[in-house]
Amino acid sequence: MGAGNAQRHCAALRRSFAFRRKANRLKLCFTTYFSRFWAKKGVFSLQVKYSASEKVAGGKLVSIEVSAEDNVVSGVKITGDFFLHPEESISDLESSLVGVKIPFDWIDTEKKLLTAITDKRLELVGVKSGNIISVMQKAVSEGPK
């Protein structure tokens, strides 16, 4: 009796798990499809975050966190043990990358960074503009996190 009950109980549990898995799969498909549909209609935005780090050979560590809305960079945070003079200008570097479309053009994007560096007379030590773009590329290619 006891064994029969246990078998029935296990079978019910399996059915319940299988049902939940199917339901979750359906829910994911449904939300992905409708998110994209409504995002395209401009009803709401798809927000994603990318991040990556790189230790520059002979230089310093640079990490980047990129937020994007509908494949356009909406926020950037650059951290690491590099040097930048003057230090507060890190926000100028970060904001120069806002508005870049993903996937981005390496040369155009580095140009934006170099313009901020030249215009504000910034000095980066231990990391070059190309390294920042390279980490950004790595972050985007690894996909949203």
Partner: protein, 250 residues
């Protein structure tokens, strides 16, 4: 280096006060209210300082710091996270008009790091400058340095490791694999050293050697902080360097 220099003798302060004093002295030197200054100091309680661009939560094991009573502060210079043990290291700051040093940043690191290397030589130790901002002894890092330039003033501060508590250092610091990736060293404990691992000199002898080397060929005298510097440092310690907004800025 023809002008007169002020040397502030070895003192101990809490982390926020140490960073606030650097800034208050920089302001006073910028306004010519104070002479170019060399400070020697320790951290009491022991502390972790992180670079301006670092993420506090990523670099520091905050829970362990709290458990061990280790202070945490963000510097206004770039560079990496450093564990400042009260007994195990001496920190210095050089605060002077930038025109006294090479315009090239690496070259100016080389000049001031050269003074530290001279101090090691006085102790019979052969250390080397490793650009960008390190000094190595027997192939391992023994001193890390960081620099900023504002309002025409160069501020360089750095640590000289005396007696290394490697276990505590890596208990309070988070060292990710990227940081050591290009150095082919799997064990982070093999990257750093302290003077006691290479010599039997006392901490006081190290301090005396640092004073001799830093003041060589300079007109100098020991001095104290001005009242203006003390008042401003106390304010900056409270409003900036001990504040959550500053320390968790990134």
């Amino acid at each position: 280096m023809d002008g007169q220099w002020r040397v502030i003798a070895l003192e101990e302060n809490a982390a926020a006060k140490n960073m606030a004093l650097d800034e208050a002295v920089s302001n006073a030197v910028a306004s010519k209210a104070s002479l170019p200054t060399i400070r020697f100091y320790g951290w009491n309680p022991s502390a972790v300082s992180i670079g301006y661009f670092q993420s506090l939560e990523k670099e520091v094991r905050l829970h362990e710091c709290e458990m061990l009573g280790v202070d945490v502060v963000r510097r206004r210079t770039g560079g990496g996270a450093v564990y400042h043990d009260t007994r195990g290291e001496i920190t210095y700051s050089v605060i002077a008009p930038a025109e006294l040093f090479p315009k090239d940043i690496i070259e100016s690191y080389r000049v001031i790091c050269g003074w530290i290397i001279d101090a090691f030589a006085l102790l019979g130790l052969k250390a080397e400058f490793k650009p960008i901002n390190d000094i190595i002894l027997e192939g391992k890092k023994v001193s890390g340095n960081a620099q900023t330039r504002r309002n025409g003033i160069l501020l360089q501060h750095g640590t000289i490791l005396y007696d290394l508590d490697v276990k505590k250092m890596f208990t309070v610091l988070n060292v990710g694999p990227e940081k050591i990736a290009d150095k082919f060293i799997a064990n982070v404990e093999e990257r750093v050293t302290g003077i006691t691992k290479n010599s039997g000199v006392s901490k006081d002898e190290v301090y005396q050697a640092l004073v001799s080397a830093f003041t060589k060929d300079k007109k100098w005298s020991f001095g104290n902080y001005s009242q203006q510097e003390i008042v401003q440092a106390e304010d900056l310690a409270k409003t900036r360097y001990a504040s959550h907004d500053w320390n968790f800025m990134r």
